[in-house]
Amino acid sequence: MATYLLKRLGMTVIVVLAVMTFLSLLVHLVPGDPVEIVLGPQATPAQVEVVRAEMGLDNPIPIQVWDFVVGALQGDLGLDFLSRTPVTQLIAQAIPHTVVLAITALALAALVGIPLGVYAARRQNSLADRAMALLSIGFITMPSYIAALLLLIVFAVQLDVLPAVGTGSFANPLDYAIHLVLPASALAITWIGYVARLVRTSMLSVLGSNYVRTSRAFGVRDRIIFYKWALKNAIIPTLAVLSSGLADLLGGAVLVEIIFSRPGLGRLTVEAISERNFPVVQGAVLVIALFYVLTNLLADLSYRLVDPRIRVEESAVGA
């Protein structure tokens, strides 16, 4: 386990450094002079030089990379071109909205997907099971932005029961929660379908196993077998998939945030890109990448902790 942990952490550090290097070079990958693009045609050459120096673009490229990495590690991601506020501050304002959205979607996926899967497994091959299979496939294949638009049209426009845009205020939790319903649902829909299928499949594979037959032969109740044995076995892979899904949800949140015009990391990134606001793009993408890498690391480690077989194989290999 210890060797594995070291290797896995080492990999993570390398990936993060690579992402930072790439981001620091981003400015040069865009055609044209980045400073002129940002400042627009009216800028005087003097102004251009000032900004160029401020961004460190007059340094040799390796120095630029070094400065960016060192800055990022110290929590300094530079200033927003336009508003002159520190990028870290912009990100700190945006992150809570995105994280709340993604986590709510994740919770929805688990709270709706797991019972659906359990129900389908209980009634294997019934009409309800088949209908649910169809529905799940529909959910899985539906992109979150389509789901977002559909939900908007039905619940915000036609029925007019839920707000269409914005986040409400953090100070009023109920208001904030109501604003969260549609975007979180849109984001969760794919995962609800996915989790339902996964839970059904893993439960059925447990229920058909020899060891379930064994316990039935000894008179263990079907209820215990179903909920204690089969569900436990189904929950492990589901949790692993969900925790790695958090990264995917953060990505999906970008589109959903734009459609519901919620201030979050997604909207921050997209707006910064359209304004060629490089420091903000760099900072936001770096944070998203960090999320991605860390959630994957977490998923991997938690999976190992939960399943005793993986634990032992590791220690056998490590010994």
């Binding site: 196993s209 020899n210 060891y211 379930v212 037959r213 064994t214 316990s215 039935r216 032969a217 000894f218 008179g219 263990v220 109740r221 079907d222 215990i224 204690k228 044995w229 436990k232 076995n233 492990i236 399943d307 005793p308 077989r309 032992v312």
Partner: protein
């Protein structure tokens, strides 16, 4: 249940009578068991032998009500202490399992839950039958005692181990301990020793014999191994292609096999006392379930076969205390070379 009087006076613990089991597979109905008849008195060890695929595991699954979803009991009955197992409700049947009838499965490697410690799996079994025994210390004591009996070293310390931390032989013994935990009256042991080496096998066989001697446990001992049958069984049932073809006391079966299939089996075993005498190969092959003949399933490999053998299903007839399903012993079959026709009396079940 027509003749209740006879059933009440029945000395048998288990009486399987004319059992038919069908598997539904790809739109076809496969007759996995046909007219299977087996009786067991309290305290007997009954060997059930037959080649792979002859339906031994199907029989045990049917008795416990654990057939796979595509399997179905389509005929006959199985009386346990006079009660037909196939007419019990699900809850009644569940209560019998483990406490009255228990089973050790063929495959020890996949028959234990890999994600639960063996202690908690065994606790589940105890709890399934009595909430009173949920007293943890008492339950633990029983579990440890049973594990000790089957020869798991230092059982108290190993309750928290997972199945994969035990060897194959140990897992088989844990399975046996689980099956015996509630002291069932009838134990079905499906090839329990085939995964074990000689010493372990001897230990397990001894354990089963002790169990019978001390508690009067009745054991259906399913095996390929005629040597083991000779060693521990009182009576033997020979199965072929889903049918019971012969039933006899062990000594009689080895000294005087009646059915040509049994004869062929014994003829090719050099010394019956030798261990590991797996069922030998006989020329020809067992018909598959899809191509079972109308008549005797062994007819295509039988030296004594006549036209009547392929056409008519033989009845299970009693011959001097043995039972055999063969036209050679049935005076009404019309077979040209009847053997001991005078000793034969007709069996219970008429041909449908």
């Amino acid at each position: 249940m027509t003749d209740d009087g006879r059933i009440k006076n029945d000395p048998y613990l288990l009486e399987v009578d004319g059992l038919d089991v069908t598997y539904h597979s790809q739109g076809r109905a496969l007759a996995a068991l046909q007219d299977v008849t087996i009786t067991a008195r309290p305290g007997e060890i009954i060997g059930i032998v037959g080649e792979s695929g002859c339906g031994k595991s199907t029989l045990s699954a049917a008795l416990l009500g654990l057939l796979p979803p595509n399997g179905e009991v389509t005929g006959g009955r199985a009386l346990y202490q006079g009660r037909d197992l196939f007419t019990l409700g699900p809850e009644e049947r569940r209560r019998l399992r483990g406490t009255e009838i228990s089973m050790v499965f063929q495959d020890p490697l996949t028959s234990l839950n890999p994600t639960l410690t063996i202690g908690s799996q065994m606790l589940d079994v105890l709890r399934a039958h009595s909430p009173a025994r949920a007293d943890r210390a008492e339950a633990r004591r029983r579990i440890v005692e049973m594990l000790e009996r089957v020869g798991i070293p230092d059982p108290a310390a190993r309750l928290r181990s997972y199945p994969h931390e035990f060897s194959g032989g140990q897992r088989q013994r844990i399975m046996i301990a689980m099956a015996l935990l509630l002291e069932p009256a009838l134990l079905i042991a499906d090839e329990v020793t085939s995964a074990l080496d000689v010493t372990l096998e001897a230990q397990i066989l001894q354990l089963l014999c002790d169990l019978r001697d001390e508690r009067g446990t009745t054991i259906l001992f399913i095996t390929h191994d005629l040597g083991v049958v000779a060693q521990i069984c009182d009576r033997v049932v020979v199965m072929y292609a889903g049918r019971t073809v012969e039933e006899a006391e062990v000594t009689e079966l080895f000294d005087r096999p009646l059915h040509p299939y049994t004869e062929a089996l014994l003829a090719s075993v050099p010394s019956r006392r030798r261990r590991g005498s797996e069922l030998p190969t006989i020329p020809g092959r067992v018909p598959s379930l899809a191509e079972l003949p109308e008549g005797c399933a062994f007819a295509n490999r039988c030296a004594h076969a006549e036209p009547c053998c392929g056409e008519q299903r033989p009845r299970y007839v009693e011959v001097t205390g043995q039972r055999v399903r063969c036209h050679l012993y049935d005076p009404e079959s019309g077979h040209a070379n009847l053997r001991q026709p005078s000793a034969a009396t007709t069996g219970r079940k008429e041909q449908p």
